[in-house]
């Protein structure tokens, strides 16, 4: 505690800067020896940062999937070995994808939640001609202007989310001639979602009252809530992401605002975190744990047994992607990405734990499957901390083509780069 001549503000700021730099570079990885008795699959997803909580479900689910696959004899008689890494950010994701493909010779890469990281992984996958299955990036652009032959999407695109929730809003009379106000996460995903929402609401006669872009690190929504209160909208549309949604819901209840709320993007973990009484509105999901099918019941049962809590929708994405890959490799007796891609593009059907089977659309590699809306239950009807919403019917309905909710060629066209 004596005078320290080295201790200056300048030194301090330099040190802090250096540390920030060091933390982005530091990325522990275990060097693995090659061996031919296992089939390696790379899993990349954000485990830290604001998407980390969802990434954790992704990891739990793919672990479970691999466990089940290996228990049934693996793929082509070999065990599946997962290489799991935190994708951190687009740059790191790309570096790690490169390493997984070139050094660890993975058969394919599964995962991701951030659309920005999906794009950098897809670029690496395309360059190395290795399959990448996106399980969480929603941006339409990924299936449109940025589409890649080696990238497939289990996660729905924003258009599918918007049209699914939009149907519920239309049904409830919240669109035509009504004033809507939105909050949008200020990064690629949010911008894309806002664009798609505007297109939907405008086409259906909604009256756009305003939008605020919310920085991803914002935790306090009081300023936004005051603006919403002042705007008196008929519908508050939440195009936020991750913990932002939980923070918003908690504070919306706190400020006692009563305008109908809904969102065009959602994850059930966020509803659970907001909790009974705070969770309100109607939201779209790719899947949820209360779907009444045998497949879902078995998955929820196995997951709950292993982790003591039900899976959320992100868990479904990574679980199902791993299952699709395993089934395809077994069917084709081949690990080669071009062959798998050809099989997918031919319209192979897969069980998705829903009422109908799904398939990848050849034109943009988007999985065509049923979506759902969940609606918050009133507090007195809630029995436990997990079952806090009721499920809408599958969208599209049983008589409709699965493609009616997906973006059309005009809305979002994809030309695969050669």
């Amino acid at each position: 505690m004596a005078d320290n001549p080295q201790f200056t503000r300048r030194r301090l700021l330099q040190s802090a800067g250096g540390l920030a730099l060091a933390s982005t570079v530091a990325a522990p990885s275990v060097l693995l020896a090659q061996s031919s008795d296992v089939i390696r699959v790379g899993h990349l997803t954000p485990r830290t940062g604001f998407l980390g909580p969802l990434g954790e479900y992704a990891v739990m689910a793919i672990d479970l999937a691999v466990e089940e696959i290996n228990a049934k004899g693996g793929v082509m008689g070999r065990k599946v070995e997962l290489l799991k890494e935190d994708s951190v950010n687009p740059q790191t994701a790309s570096t790690k994808a490169e390493r997984m493909i070139e050094r660890d010779k993975v058969a394919c890469i599964i995962g991701e939640i951030s659309s920005a990281s999906c794009l950098t992984i897809a670029q690496v996958a395309q360059r190395n001609k290795t399959l990448f299955i996106n399980t969480g990036g929603n941006s339409d652009a990924l299936r449109g202007s940025d589409c890649k032959r080696y990238m497939f999407h289990v996660e729905s695109q924003n258009s599918m989310y918007v049209k699914t929730a939009g149907r519920a809003f239309l049904r409830d009379g919240l669109v035509k001639g009504k004033k809507w106000y939105s909050l949008t996460a200020d990064y690629a995903f949010g911008h894309d979602l806002l664009k798609v929402s505007k297109r939907f609401m405008q086409a259906n006669g909604g009256d756009f009252a305003g939008d605020d872009l919310v920085p991803t690190d914002a935790a306090d929504f009081s300023s936004y809530l005051l603006k919403i209160r002042d705007a008196k909208p008929d519908l508050v549309v939440i195009n936020l992401a991750g913990n932002q949604i939980t923070n918003f819901l908690k504070q919306y209840a706190e400020f006692g605002l009563k305008f109908p709320v809904g969102g065009f993007g959602f994850d059930t973990a966020l509803a659970w975190a907001a909790g009974k009484g705070n969770f309100v509105g109607t939201w779209p999901v790719v899947w949820h744990h209360l779907i009444d099918t045998a497949g879902t019941k078995a998955f929820v049962g196995a997951f709950t047994k292993k982790y003591n809590k039900p899976p959320e929708n992100q868990a479904w994405g990574d679980y199902i992607a791993m299952k699709i890959v395993a089934q395809t490799i077994n069917d084709l007796k081949s690990l080669e990405s071009p062959k798998i891609i050809e099989h997918f593009e031919k319209g192979a059907k897969f069980d998705l734990l829903k009422t109908r089977e799904g398939y990848f659309r050849a034109s943009d590699h988007q999985l065509m499957h049923e979506m759902y809306t969940v609606t918050a239950l009133p507090a007195d009807k809630i029995k436990n901390q997990w079952d806090i919403f009721s499920s809408g019917a599958p969208v599209p309905g049983p008589d409709e083509s699965l493609e009616v909710i997906a973006a059309t060629k005009e809305e979002n066209s994809c030309t695969f780069p050669t």
């Binding site: 505690m1 005078d3 200056t8 540390l19 909580p53 954790e56 200020d186 005051l226 706190e254 959320e312």
Partner: protein, 292 residues
């Protein structure tokens, strides 16, 4: 001036109070020991998680008292075992230490409680809204601000009006002279660490009902808190107070006038301007050991 803008100004000022609890502790620990506590956000998160653990048994009130005390005790342990070894060394070492500590704490929370955010709500007795004219505010936040203001006032009194505070302030200015007078600063260092870290724990309890409780929640609050300390001026009590309100105000007004996307950038710009034109911060005192 429009009514909405007035509301945003007021709301922004009130928001600044949350940063205050974190920033004051940071500033205190830095001023006395020269430790830039990058783990301060982690103690905030631990405070929030302890609330979830304690309140099923003792209620929110029990957590409000017990959780900051436990966090403060943890602070003493950390100070006695780790911080004290770094008071005299190159600041890069204590930065590395606390940076690592923050990661360890975050990962520990993730391992114990899981990565997904946990649910916690405002206790029923504190729900509701206060409406003054056209301004709406949550009743819970009124209580929160009341507690925060009481803490800040208490801290001011402790530092300015008590023998304890006199030694701490002397230690900030010239630790060698304090030593020459035969006063050991060691117990004061531990007490200051307990106070500062306990305040972070308290902020964790207070914000758990309105923010998502997740392992990385400390990161959301630590950066603006650092900005507050830098703007206010290291070692200045009132500097930190004014800077906290200023940061809240700038954020609120940026959202209010429709530039929400730049609301985070704006506080960094503010910090940049302060560093350019007044490097020691708004109210920072000239400390010989900090300037060459």
């Amino acid at each position: 001036m429009s009514m909405l803008l007035m509301q945003q100004i007021l709301n922004g000022l009130l928001d600044g109070v949350y940063y205050l609890l974190i920033a004051l502790g940071l500033s205190l620990i830095f001023s006395l020991g020269g430790i830039v506590n990058l783990a301060h956000g982690a103690f905030f998160a631990i405070g929030a998680y302890l609330t979830l653990v304690i309140s099923p048994y003792l209620g929110f009130g029990g957590a409000l008292v017990l959780s900051p005390v436990l966090v403060a005790l943890l602070g003493i342990v950390i100070e006695r075992t780790l911080f004290r070894r770094f008071y005299r060394s190159d600041p890069i070492l204590s930065l590395l230490l606390t940076f690592g500590l923050a990661m360890v704490a975050e990962q520990a929370l993730r391992m114990i409680f899981g990565a997904p955010p946990l649910s916690y709500s405002i206790p029923p007795a504190l729900r509701g809204q206060v409406i003054v004219g056209s301004f709406i505010y949550s009743f819970y936040r009124v209580v929160l601000i009341g507690i925060a203001v009481a803490c800040v006032a208490g801290l001011w009194f402790l530092l300015q009006k008590t023998p304890f505070g006199r030694v701490v302030r002397a230690g900030v200015q010239n630790p060698d002279m304090v030593g020459a007078l035969g006063i050991s600063l060691q117990p004061y260092m531990a007490a200051v660490a307990a106070l500062g870290i306990g305040l972070a724990g308290l902020a964790g309890v207070l914000l758990a009902p309105i923010y998502a409780v997740h392992p990385a929640m400390g990161n959301e609050i630590i950066t603006p808190a650092f900005v507050v300390v830098v703007i206010g001026g290291l070692g200045s009590f009132w500097g930190v107070v004014v800077a906290a309100l200023l940061v809240g105000l700038v954020k609120g007004v940026m959202v209010g006038i429709g530039y929400s996307a730049a609301s985070t950038a704006a506080i960094y710009l503010l910090m940049l301007l302060v560093l350019l034109f007044r490097p020691r911060g708004l109210f920072g005192e000239r400390m010989t050991r900090l300037e060459q």
